[in-house]
Symmetry: C2
Subunit: 305 residues, 2 copies
């Protein structure tokens, strides 16, 4: 049976705007989140593409409060809460659950490498026990190309089995469709499998997936949501190709700086260009070239303020 | 000219004891640090082997205060302060410098992979500017097998050149002697090159290095310091072999659980066995086997309480 409290559809790992002094800009983030919601895209704030791992727990706690106080619906939010330190993960996850966020997207602890499935399991068991909130919903965040530490399909099964109603989904950013497919094949009850790129969206929907949580949903939300809503249509493959074309255009540049440059170019708001070290902003000539290429493809960001 | 404020010799990335509820045990840590100092080994608290990346910044700030208040000399301390988030690194580094720590051992921000030398440089420049303490001394922490992000020799040169008197050394845990040697060859003025394993200690000293900061200095401090003090002796190669034998014995097991199990076995204090997830404690039979093998080699930990 489908649980209406579980998330599906398209979510964006919302890019985080910074002031000139590199502090998070809550007002710009609120406006961006409201725009994404207007495009029917949910809010996976504090994802990899949000530079979330360049923010302290305090900064994330404060931003989450600002969003909810500004009227951004926590039921559309799946903040990233997985940190290296158990105590940080617990604090941030408890905060998100208390604010009523529909879910949390949880990286495994990612500093120590070569850790065992048992060790990652122990981490999640400890987090769940400490957060101790019956509304907690965890979506596992599998992104081995960046975190280097990930979830085997068997470990996912253990977590789903032992924490029913709590471990309810996964974002698979492995880039390996075989891995996504292997999880879909297990057919865990109402388990929500999101792909980490819209390039796999059609394949995911055809195999029972829940949607996608994708970097490019920051800039191309409506089109990605359109394919999600209409994946059974005859022209779905054509729509998938159009999404891939935009994504590949952006991916010719470093992803996060390119997303922020695109928001800056299409909103006319240069403040969006700022990234935190160790990332570097996209050079102006590259930013202009990317925007020109996108415009040449008929790309636009309607309603972006 | 040699700057007496710069560190040299043998330091230990001190293992962090935990209570049953997994909170850091300041009293046991203080006792362990005092024992290490009695063995003439300095304190690289909050290193990889300290499970430092499984601790929150608050926990580290509090532990550092406890150590200094208990009379542990900050001039013998080089706490790890490099976090993923710029703001965390600044906070912890500023705290360590204010407490009078002789140096800080700084990881690069390690979540985002494939970042450029320019991006890592920008991170360090920003940290130095924000900490704004003339006594700040940074030792770069190069450990690509774990952090995956590291320092090229050219990047080290840029940092040493642009921040003279601040970026004063490096711990090279690459395990690649050619990399260590390449830095020694550059002969930056009074730059302190520590190897990350005592297996390279003799080679490092013979080439102008400063010492080592090694996991096994937690359990074998006096012998490692003895080689450091006497590396020009005729029997230095034999002493190096004996160190390697103990290290290889421990490395047959997962390093951090094995170090803690060894402390537990030789102190009789089982509380030392506790690790934080995602690590798992060493099984009792393995712990006993490791201790028996070590005892068979005449290994002891004299003075350990």
């Amino acid at each position: 049976m489908k649980d209406s409290k579980r998330l599906s559809g398209v979510l964006s790992p919302v890019v985080t705007p910074f002031d000139e002094d590199l502090s998070p800009d809550a007002d710009r983030l609120i406006a961006q989140c409201k725009w994404l919601l207007s495009q029917n895209v949910g809010l996976a704030v504090f994802g990899t593409n949000s530079e979330a791992n360049s923010l302290s727990v305090d900064e994330k706690v404060e931003l989450l409060v600002s969003l909810v106080e500004a009227g951004v619906d926590p039921k559309r939010m799946m903040p990233g809460t997985g940190c290296c330190a158990l105590t940080d993960t617990v604090r941030l996850t408890a905060h998100a659950a208390k604010l009523g966020c529909a879910g949390t997207l949880m990286l495994p602890p990612f500093y120590y490498k070569g850790v065992s499935d048992d060790g990652i399991y122990a981490n999640f068991a400890e987090v769940i026990e400490r957060v101790d909130n019956e509304d907690l919903k965890i979506y596992l965040y599998h992104i081995p190309p960046v975190a280097q530490v990930g979830f085997s399909v068997d470990l996912v099964e253990r977590l789903v089995t032992d924490f029913p109603g709590i471990v309810v989904g996964i974002k698979d950013s492995s880039g390996d469709w075989d891995n996504t497919h292997a999880m879909l094949e297990r057919k865990w009850d109402d388990f929500r499998v999101f792909v980490g790129s819209e390039s796999f969206l059609l394949a995911n929907m055809r195999n029972g997936g829940a949607g996608c949580i994708s970097a490019t949903a920051n800039i191309n939300p409506a089109a990605i949501d359109h394919l999600y809503q209409n994946w059974e249509d005859d022209d779905a493959a054509t729509a998938q190709e159009a999404l891939d074309d935009i994504r590949n255009t952006v991916m010719a540049y470093p992803m996060i700086p390119a997303l922020k440059a695109t928001v800056a170019e299409f909103s006319g708001d240069d403040a969006w260009r700022t990234v935190r070290p160790p990332l570097l902003g996209l050079a102006r000539d590259k930013s202009a070239a990317l925007a020109a290429t996108l415009r040449g493809k008929g790309f636009a960001m309607p309603g972006l303020s």
